[in-house]
């Protein structure tokens, strides 16, 4: 079945690449509400990809797709983590917000100078 559906698998992985690119592009504007909407689907996609990769690991004819799936899983997991850490949690992290506020109006007189 897998052999016959290699074309479909390739198309699916192309779509995963597009989704990943889109998430990277939109990253700076993703909000907690956005994540509440697509976060669960993202997790389903990651676990489905993992299962699909596990199934295909023993099939020689699907070897070219294994590494690509591994990279996609790692990329989506990293994106998921970063969205949670920096788009959802960071705005609520008072210590971090206070530190970021300290970056406004810094005094650069002690900056090392080019010789």
């Amino acid at each position: 079945m897998f052999v016959e559906r290699r074309g479909e698998l390739a198309r699916l992985l192309n779509e995963v690449d597009k989704l990943s690119d889109r998430l990277h592009d939109e990253f700076p504007t993703i909000s907690e509400n956005d994540y509440r909407l697509f976060g669960p689907e993202l997790k389903v996609l990651i676990s489905t990809l993992k299962a699909l990769r596990q199934d295909s690991l023993n099939r020689k004819e699907l070897k070219p797709y294994n590494n690509r799936m591994r990279q996609q899983i790692a990329d989506l997991e990293e994106l998921d983590h970063d969205i949670k850490a920096f788009r959802v949690n960071a705005p609520k992290n008072e210590e971090l917000q206070a530190t970021m506020a300290m970056l406004n109006n810094l005094d650069f007189t002690n900056l090392p100078m080019q010789p």
Binding site: H81, A90, L96, M102, N110, P115
Partner: protein, 149 residues
């Protein structure tokens, strides 16, 4: 002219990566230089992987390949840097590989907080180190190269 400075944590991390056996991470310096060499300050500021931002600064997690190990951006390095909006200043905060013996998968918001605070403290104390991006990150305001110590 864009100035590149680093905090102590960054230099410690670089030294550790370069000490890893068999030169696994020997390409890290050239990857950083390559990422910035011909970039304008606007290109450095406008990266899609901006993880934190405020009025005067942006913190970016740059995905870099490891050409020496034939690794793509996804599997290469993550460079954490801060870039100021009002002056052409880039602060190298941290770098970690996504693969190999020193692999790190993610970085947490509290760690970014610690690194930004380190920058503020070292700026006030005049302890930041200036680098030449066109000369393998050579430390300009030091006589000894930290990566060979």
């Amino acid at each position: 002219m864009i100035q590149f400075v680093s905090v102590t944590s960054f230099r410690i991390r670089m030294a550790a990566l370069l000490k890893v056996k068999r030169g696994v991470y020997a390409g890290v310096v050239s990857e950083i230089c390559q990422a910035f060499k011909n970039a304008t300050i606007e290109q450095i500021r406008q990266n899609r992987d901006m993880i934190l931002m405020n009025n005067d600064a942006v913190v970016i997690k740059l995905r870099m390949p490891d050409k020496k190990q034939k690794l793509s951006k996804a599997d290469g390095y993550r460079l954490i840097y801060l870039v100021m909006k009002q002056i052409p200043l880039v602060v190298l905060l941290d770098i970690y590989p996504k693969r190999g013996p020193s692999q790190q998968l993610d970085i947490e918001d509290n760690e970014i907080n610690r690194l930004v605070m380190e920058f503020i403290t070292e700026l006030k104390a005049g302890k930041l180190t200036l680098h030449d991006i066109k000369d393998n990150l050579k430390e300009i305001n030091k006589t000894k190269d930290a990566y060979t110590e």
